[in-house]
């Protein structure tokens, strides 16, 4: 209860601060009151940053959201440093900084959109810090938005479509769907067994290659290349490559380089898996 009361004071103070910077000296007592809740602000910022980063939000957006939330609680000098594997955050230059480690990343845009809405309500003041914290924890724990069968079905459909888009014939559509679907199932299954993501990608693309060549041997399909390119598309790090270049351009050199390294390793794993299939047949 006590800290909630402090926050209402801090809030009005920050609003005033926004319009008139010189008056901040007079708000000394309120600054003291505000400091009682700084750990909560830091925790909230780190939580929202971690949720966004783990679910595939852009680096600059994570940094922006964290500093914006801190500013809405009156700390206009907050600093955040976001890399794909961890977040460093500090409320100001004289404050200690906190660190959060991010070990696994997926793409879950639903959660990114939800976290964005939460941050919007925090900065507009319609959500209290406790409520925001609870909502974010729930969001963090929530599972995937679509069921696994739906994901497999869409991966297989996308594989078929990509085979056509890369100028394959309609004979390649069916084999690409099947190979892409099984490749994606393999990726999910192996990823559960092995901690190393690249190994799961390697095995999945090996299965795709073997399936594509077996289809051709059975007389189904036209070109192995088109079938394989279509079916590996759900695994390929195309998005990572683009994001890496974009981060580099925006000046986020560390995240750009590390995303590029991740993309290169993934591409290497996929190429390696397919190459082994090539050498078998």
């Amino acid at each position: 209860m006590g800290s909630l009361f402090y926050f209402s004071i801090a809030d009005t103070r920050s609003n005033r601060l926004h319009f008139n910077n010189e008056k901040s000296e007079r708000g000394r007592t309120n600054v003291k009151a505000f400091e009682a809740g700084t750990t909560e602000v830091i925790e909230l910022c780190l939580l929202i940053g971690r949720v966004m980063l783990q679910n595939g939000a852009e680096t600059y957006r994570v940094e922006d959201t964290m500093t914006r939330i801190a500013a809405s609680f009156g700390s206009g000098e907050a600093q955040s440093f976001v890399t794909p594997t961890g977040i460093v955050f500090s409320l100001g230059q004289s404050e200690p900084s906190k660190l959060v480690r991010v070990s696994d990343r997926t793409t879950n845009l639903h959660k990114v959109a939800k976290a964005n809405n939460i941050s919007r309500s925090i900065t507009s003041g319609s959500l209290s810090i406790r409520e925001a914290h609870r909502e974010l924890t729930d969001l963090d724990k929530a599972g995937t938005y679509y069921t696994i069968p739906a994901q497999i079905a869409s991966a297989s459909l996308a594989s078929g479509c990509f085979a056509i888009m890369f100028q394959g014939s309609w004979f390649d559509f069916g084999p690409a769907c099947v190979a892409g679907g099984f490749g994606f199932i393999a990726l999910l299954a192996f990823h559960r067994f092995f901690e190393i993501k690249f190994f799961a990608e390697f095995l999945a693309s090996l299965i795709i290659g073997v399936l594509a060549f077996s289809f051709l041997l059975m007389g189904i399909g036209n070109e192995a290349d088109k079938i394989i390119i279509g079916s590996v598309m759900p695994l390929v790090p195309g998005l990572l490559i683009t994001n890496a270049v974009r981060d580099l351009m925006a000046g986020h050199l560390v995240s750009g380089l590390s995303k590029g390294a991740e993309a290169f390793l993934t591409a290497f794993a996929i190429g390696g898996g397919v190459a082994i299939a090539f050498s078998i047949f």
Partner: protein
């Protein structure tokens, strides 16, 4: 190669990638729309025998502009629309091709392909960044106008 066939295929592919990336259900149709528009622009450039990399750049710029429009309209982060939209353009096929040649010891064929993959991803990134820059400067201009009116 029929344009209608390509429109349909790229629509389904982008929307399915929306599902793979767990995009909210209400945005899937728009994801497909953005993706197929970008792909059609790219295909038209290729068919007119213009530079593919320029085509990719124009397509990704259009995708990002529409994505930002949707983002403001539906109060959803841009990434939801732009990610699904650029998926057909992304040089996944090229990256795969380059890697396959590398691991088969065909370094001479692999190098130009990987250079092209790099150029294409650069073009996509420039398209995205340019639309962001335009969006930000429009916002700033609007703010300046408002403050002018107030004072």
């Amino acid at each position: 190669m029929l344009i209608a066939e390509q429109i349909l295929m790229s629509f389904i592919a982008s929307a399915s990638f929306g599902i793979l990336f767990q995009a909210p259900r209400s945005t899937l149709f728009k994801c497909g729309l953005v993706g197929s528009l970008g792909w059609v622009i790219y295909i038209l450039f290729v068919q007119a025998e213009l530079n593919e990399i320029t085509g990719t750049f124009v397509a990704s710029f259009v995708i990002a502009m529409i994505g930002q429009f949707f983002a403001r309209m539906y109060k959803t982060p841009v990434i939801v629309f732009s990610v699904a939209g650029i998926i057909p353009l992304v040089p996944g096929g090229l990256a795969y091709d380059a890697m396959r040649h590398f691991v088969q010891n065909n370094y001479e064929t692999a190098l130009p392909i990987s250079a092209k993959a790099f150029m294409v991803s650069g073009a996509i990134a420039i398209g995205l960044v340019l639309s962001e820059v335009i969006n930000q400067s429009v916002k700033k201009l609007r703010k300046r106008k408002e403050s002018h009116l107030k004072t």
